[in-house]
């Protein structure tokens, strides 16, 4: 379908983008890669009066080394994330999850920032950034990942706030990592996904981080599993036992891809697999 009509502006600085959003009031919407927004406009599920295209805002581009962390610009495309040497070295889990996002054409345009600001609990990157305790850097403040995802397709960004980038700590650089995504067809959203980081010292687990995709209206941490594996043996048996509590405290949706109970079951199986793969056992 043809989208409803709207005005289009393409600011060339962050200040201009913020003032364009302010001028638009509640009727403005940022467009980045458009890979989530344009389908919504075509299906007439969204009716913004003004689109503010942030593609030419220089502050949103590039991946910067900040010493103990990386700042990944919001406009970094999935394609660029997969080829970025800093991300590969310091945040390989981000690249692993990104390689499962959509298809090559969508990855050429879709952006890191857009897929986080979209706050789709079925998106692959929110669980990763949550597991890594990333920090969302916006035009006006910094928001810890644990406070960024508010509800289904809802972040805590204000209507006049632009996501500039996400700060990812390098602390997990040496940890084992794995993104376990379960889906039925070649190119599809996760029915459930598990983002996992494991710090192994010898045969033991010194620490673990686990983020779950599509197990609620926001991404969630599997805190009970993280606690259960800490200090324990790095073997499959121990991981299976610990992963039994993966669905604790979650409220996964029921839809045509699977019931809520099915997703709870999947979360335990996939979490065990993700831990084993991340720990290399």
């Amino acid at each position: 379908m043809i989208p409803g009509s709207f005005d289009y502006v393409r600011p060339s600085s962050l200040d201009e983008a913020v003032s364009a959003l302010r001028d638009a009031g509640d009727e403005g919407k940022v467009i980045a890669g458009g890979q989530s927004l344009l389908p919504l406009l075509r299906l007439r599920l969204a009716f913004p009066e003004v689109l503010i295209d942030v593609a030419s805002v220089p502050e949103l581009h590039g991946v910067r080394d900040e010493g103990s962390s990386l700042l990944v610009g919001a406009m970094t495309t999935h394609y660029d994330v997969l080829r970025d040497p800093l991300i590969r070295e310091h945040a390989p889990l981000v690249a692993a999850a990104t390689s499962t996002v959509a298809d090559p054409a969508v990855r050429h345009r879709g952006t890191f920032g857009g897929s986080l600001a979209h706050a789709d609990p079925a998106g692959d990157l929110p669980a990763v950034v949550l597991a890594m305790d990333g920090v969302f850097v916006t035009s006006s403040r910094e928001i810890p990942a644990a406070e960024f995802f508010a509800d289904y397709l809802t972040s805590t960004l204000e209507p006049d706030e632009v996501l500039v980038g996400v700060r990812l700590p390098k602390a997990f650089a040496g940890w084992g990592f794995h993104y376990e995504k379960f889906h039925r067809t070649a190119q599809a959203w996760a029915i459930v996904g598990v983002a996992c980081l494991v710090d192994r010292s010898g045969g033991e687990v010194a620490g673990a981080r686990i983020g779950l995709t599509n197990m609620g209206s926001t991404p969630v941490r599997a805190s009970a599993v993280e606690a259960a594996v800490r200090g324990g043996a790095a073997d499959r048996e121990a991981f299976r036992a610990a992963a039994a509590s993966a669905a604790e405290g979650t409220s996964p949706p029921s839809d045509l891809h699977g019931s809520s109970d099915y997703r709870r079951h999947l979360a335990t199986v996939l979490t065990a697999r993700a831990l084993s793969a991340a720990a290399g056992v």
């Binding site: 409803g4 009509s5 709207f6 289009y8 458009g34 075509r42 299906l43 298809d103 090559p104 969508v106």
Partner: protein, 164 residues
Amino acid sequence: MPRVSIEVDGVKYDDDVEPRLLLAHYLRDRLGKVGTPIGCDTSNCGACTVLLDGMSVKSCSVLAVQADGQDVTTIEGLGDGQGLHPLQRAFHQEHALQCGYCTPGMIMAALDLLRENPDPSDEEVREGLEGNLCRCTGYQNIVRAVRRAAGDLSPKPAQQEATR
């Protein structure tokens, strides 16, 4: 109305467009480049795939205003009007189409794949084309065609020998 300047298949066009005009509609309805079909409303099928500054995109999911200042290559820009492009020829030879609706998108996505990976395995072809749906062929012959075209596009050992 914003004015855009877009090069399509080697020809520069300057046009006033409504911001909501999709690149796919610009190509088809304004420029008459109906070689690029539209198959869905959800950005899933890939029928509308073109190259934007050399990289595959789904033209139904790009606004014409977003393509301002960029180069577009459609299926119509591949052959020279006389001979077929090696990918077009391989699709013909391997019987990689039935109704043909997905074919322009398949070929443009395959072109992008071969740019990145000139000699893909079957598995790599399938991954490269995962954003393109075909309701007819079952994909087997499409994979075969892309691999055949890869062979046709890369210089043969004998040719390399000859140019040494």
